[in-house]
């Protein structure tokens, strides 16, 4: 009887493993996922280091709720406010999804700042992670721009005049400011084109850019590893040679000569 059970068990295992093996053999995705999930992190990481994941979660909430809101929202001056009213009052659970998106926007921004503060205070922006700090700053800027473009969409008095002021603040930038303001407005004054333009930026251009940069951000986190806290007993830093030009030829663009010297081909 035990033999039969173990045979069935083997069969079940095979049924589960087979498709995974199939996928792994052709894509290496399973191995990649395992590498991501079971990679080594310092033993004394703490809750502060979950702020990045929390920010990512907030962004995913924004993405999902935003996609659903887009099914009901109508970006035209004559209909935008009515459609928001419809979402809030009439669509089943519309108030909840809109509320999640509206408050989640603030949560996203706040978490980005917390995450940034953690990275700064832990010194996690230092070599070799400078590039990831720069990507993070770009993400912060894009996130703020998401907030700016999203604020206009309800098309009520607050939205309209806040956007007027916001656009004109951009307009006061030296030299190119007036051009920037007019580009944002889609014309000499705020009008129909402005709303459609902000909507397109808010739901297509900026999220696309943010998703791309998040991918890079995570890639670098995985490649470079997690930093231990400043009070860690474990040694930090490690050998620099892995990144030294003499071992990997500076992305193949220059040929390393003697140590400390590089010769350009």
């Amino acid at each position: 009887m035990a033999r039969a059970r173990s045979a069935r068990r083997q069969q079940v295992e095979r049924a589960v493993v087979y498709p995974l093996d199939w996928l792994e053999e052709r894509s290496g995705l399973i191995g990649g996922l395992k590498y991501f999930l079971f990679r080594k992190v310092p033993s004394d990481t703490n809750w502060m280091q979950t702020l990045g994941s929390a920010t990512l979660t907030a962004f995913l909430v924004q993405t999902v709720t935003g996609v659903i809101l887009a099914m009901y929202y109508k970006p035209h001056p004559d209909t935008a406010y009515e459609s928001i009213r419809y979402i809030t009052n009439d669509v089943t659970l519309g108030w909840l999804v809109r509320g999640m998106h509206r408050w989640g926007a603030s949560v996203f921004i706040i978490l980005m700042f917390f995450h940034m503060a953690r990275v700064f205070l832990f010194g996690a922006y230092k070599y070799p992670r400078e590039l990831n700090w720069i990507i993070g700053v770009l993400l912060l800027a894009l996130g703020m721009f998401e907030g700016f473009t999203g604020y206009l969409l309800p098309w009520d008095e607050t939205a309209y005049w806040a956007s007027v002021v916001g656009i004109n603040i951009n307009g006061t930038a030296p030299f190119l400011g007036p051009f920037l303001a007019q580009f944002l407005q889609g014309g000499a004054e705020i009008g129909t084109d402005t709303l459609a333009r902000f909507y397109s930026l808010h739901m297509l251009v900026l999220p696309g850019a943010i998703i791309g940069l998040i991918g890079l951000h995570l890639y670098l986190v995985i490649r470079l590893g997690v930093t231990s806290p400043p009070w860690s007993a474990e040694p930090a830093g490690g050998e620099r040679s892995e990144f030294e030009p003499s071992t990997n030829g500076r992305a193949g663009l220059v040929r390393p000569g003697a140590r400390g010297k590089v010769t350009v081909e």
């Binding site: 001056p77 005049w161 002021v165 004109n168 603040i169 006061t172 030299f175 007036p178 407005q185 705020i190």
Partner: protein, 308 residues
């Protein structure tokens, strides 16, 4: 298997139980014709399932064992030259460099051909096609001498409410035989909020009119200057800044008078206004973005205004 020769022995398929299930299925199906349609479906499912298994068993030998498909492999056509042997290769024109350049070049060309028109489509409409239309806001008789009126109108009736604009209009009486008007835009020159008259607005005496070019409303008011609700900018009746963050005087509308009607034209920016009413001297500049200096040293920061 060769059907015309080979083995001469009678060939019996291996014993199988599936026909039993097949028969039960047919029986259920026939019963279902009497009992109900769902039994028919059950019978059909049983029949098809066991029929399939039966056929599969019977034809197993004909189909033979399943081939295992090995990934395709082939040897390299020519052995790669060992390092050090390729000295002569580098003398020749390097084909791979040409192909690399061609790929990048053609790819870049195609990318540019696709991107540039789209980029132009995204950017250029914001800087072209602003038509200036004369907007009829009423007969001269509707503007009593020395009386301020809050005049709101649709700048582009096709766009609707979103194009509603407001001007503060005062008839200054005749100047050298021609009517003179002070027409101040309500757009604050700090950051573009709507300035309000500092004084009573007599909504009871509002007049609506549908003119040839727009829909206009005129409301009498008695302002002691204008104030902005957003950041507290204050202006006097000529639009000069008296307090707060604005960087120049309030913009004004150009106007013309035809057939006894007041027609508003485009707006222009004002450095400052000296004097009052019809004697006022207006230092006039092209329309600038709110918050942008038109005079003083700061104007050097804004050498070019965006085309409309």
């Amino acid at each position: 298997m060769d059907p015309h020769g080979g083995e001469q022995r009678a060939h019996a398929p291996a014993p199988t139980l599936w026909p039993v299930g097949f028969a039960v299925g047919i029986a259920v199906l026939l019963t279902g014709l009497i009992v109900g349609w769902y039994i028919v479906i059950l019978g059909a499912v049983l029949t098809v399932a066991f029929g399939f298994l039966w056929i599969r068993d019977v034809t197993a030998e004909m189909r033979g064992p399943v081939d295992t498909v090995e990934p395709e492999r082939r040897p390299a056509r020519r052995p790669a030259p060992a390092p050090g042997e390729d000295e002569t290769e580098t003398e020749r024109y390097p084909r791979n460099v040409f192909l690399e350049g061609a790929t990048l070049g053609i790819g870049g060309l195609i990318g540019g051909l696709v991107t540039l028109p789209v980029l132009g489509f995204a950017v250029l409409p914001a800087f072209t096609g602003e038509d200036v239309e004369e907007l009829d806001v009423g007969a001269l008789d509707d503007f009593p001498d020395g009386q301020w009126l809050v005049v709101t109108f649709l700048k582009d009736p096709e766009q609707g409410e979103v194009s509603r604009r407001t001007a503060y209009v005062r008839n200054n009486g005749l100047l050298e035989g021609a009517p003179s008007f002070t027409i101040v835009s309500n757009r604050c020159v700090h950051l573009g909020c709507p300035v309000q008259p500092n004084g009573p607005v007599n909504d009871d005496e509002a007049k609506e009119e549908k003119t040839d070019s727009t829909t206009v409303s005129r409301i009498p008011t008695n302002p002691a200057g204008f104030g902005c609700p957003c950041h507290g900018g204050q202006y006097d009746n000529e639009g000069n800044r008296t307090a707060g963050p604005p960087v120049r005087s309030l913009d004004r509308f150009d106007y013309s008078i035809r057939n006894g009607r007041l027609l508003l034209r485009e707006t222009y920016s004002v450095g400052e206004v000296r004097g009052e009413g019809k004697e006022a001297v207006i230092v006039k500049y092209g329309q600038a973005t709110p918050g942008v200096h038109v005079d003083g040293p700061e104007q050097l920061l804004y050498p070019v205004q965006a085309p409309k």
